[in-house]
């Protein structure tokens, strides 16, 4: 979702500071509460801005329940409020959410139920048995176990996937013990889901009561939130150059292109900073069109040239 890799980062730092001796449940609860608070503020601003911009009340509410990814929600609504087509809005939101794919791989072991027990929060022995456990899970899915536990296991996994966010993943990855990883992921994921949706609803109420939100400078919170979200990712010069180039491209094209497209065109900025392999450098300009295929390790077929 969104806010604050930085917030999650400071939570992470404090978890690490208290170290393996006492990364207890209360520390986790406190850190999760802080992240929920920060995200709640963003949700409030998101709901208020969307409604104040003229969208129906259920648009931000439905997005928060169904999409549950703050950055992409803000991006999609931003494109629509700027006059962009729904297609451009969906495209911008979808590109932002590609990162959830590697996240899903990173926390795959804790998203499902604890193998062997069938319930979350009790898998002290799952650490070394992750591979075997998944084999059990698949055998169960194909009819090995009784239908009840299998269905429950799948429902848990499907629900867990929905609360994969920047924050829940950050919390999970700070823990080395499997049981704590699981506890951190679920605590953060579910708390955040509740906090985010309540906050957006409150924001919708506030936004529909205030007439002229521009007088309160609410329109400036949108870009400010986006910058705060992107900052932690701008640590490397390469990324800063790409982002700067992309921003210039987007602003320059805004007067001439239909709304929504300039932001997507900004992805061309990736070409300025992206040099994954020497042999593919000449194709760098087309990186945004096929980021996944292009960056496979060299043995795979280059999707652009067909060469191996």
């Amino acid at each position: 979702m969104s806010p604050l890799w930085r917030t999650a980062g400071s939570a992470r730092a404090s978890v690490q500071a208290s170290s393996s001796t006492s990364s207890s449940g209360s520390t986790l609860a406190r850190d999760v509460a802080l992240v929920c608070l920060a995200d709640g503020l963003v949700g409030l601003s998101f709901g208020a801005t969307a409604v104040a911009g003229g969208l129906r009340w259920w648009v931000p509410v439905a997005m928060s329940l169904l999409v549950f990814a703050g950055g992409s929600q803000i991006a999609a609504v931003g494109v629509v409020l700027a006059g962009g087509s729904p297609f451009a809005a969906v495209a911008a939101g979808a590109v932002l959410n590609t990162r959830l794919f590697p996240y899903g791989l990173a926390v795959a072991d804790v998203v499902g139920p604890a193998e062997g027990s069938g319930s979350p929060g009790n898998d002290a022995r799952a650490a070394g048995a992750a591979g075997a456990a998944s084999a059990i899970g698949e055998a169960g899915a194909t009819g090995g176990a009784g239908p009840g536990p299998t269905v429950k296991r799948w429902l848990t996994r499907l629900l867990g996937a929905h609360v994969i966010t920047d924050e829940s993943v950050a919390f999970a990855l700070r823990q080395t013990d499997p049981a704590r990883r699981r506890a951190a992921f679920w605590t953060c994921g579910l708390s955040l889901f509740g906090a985010w949706n309540v906050a957006v609803l409150l924001g919708v109420l506030a936004g529909s009561m205030v007439r002229n939100t521009n007088a309160f400078g609410l329109d400036a919170t949108f870009p400010a939130v986006l910058i705060a979200l992107a900052l932690p990712a701008l640590a490397e010069l390469r990324t800063r150059v790409s982002a700067g180039t992309g921003a210039v491209i987007a602003v320059v094209l805004t007067p001439v292109l239909p709304a929504g497209l300039p932001v997507l065109a900004a992805l061309a900025g990736l070409a300025t900073g992206w040099r994954p392999h020497r042999r593919t450098t000449k194709h760098a300009a087309s990186a945004p069109t096929d980021p996944r295929g292009k960056n496979r390790p060299s043995p795979s077929i280059d999707p652009l040239t067909g060469e191996r």
Partner: protein, 102 residues
């Protein structure tokens, strides 16, 4: 924003989320791809921040909004707490408008 668009974005987003947990044994993502995902997200966020700070539709948005965003951005870069960043953006912009800056 039609319900269909929300549903499509929700479906795409969920698809990104569920693939990992379902196929963790069959997929290994090259590190370069992970880095590219992160870079693409950063580029989109900054581009969107720039256009939504500077532009209103196809035109310049006036000075109040970008000034507020600039202050907020500097605060964020100095690791100010998140509430401070958001309030500063709105506060600076509101005060400038109150003072007659467009």
């Amino acid at each position: 924003m039609p319900l269909l668009a929300i549903a499509v974005l929700a479906a795409i987003t969920y698809a990104f989320r569920i693939v990992g947990p379902l196929c963790r044994d069959r997929i290994t993502l090259p590190p370069a791809a992970t880095v590219l995902f992160a870079d693409a997200a950063a580029v989109l966020l900054i581009a969107l921040a720039a256009t939504s700070a500077l532009m209103n539709g196809h035109d310049f948005a006036g000075w109040a909004r970008p000034a507020g965003v600039l202050v907020a951005g500097l605060l964020a870069a100095r690791r100010a707490p998140f509430p401070v960043v958001v309030v500063a953006a709105a506060g600076v912009t509101a005060l400038l408008r109150l003072a007659g800056v467009g």
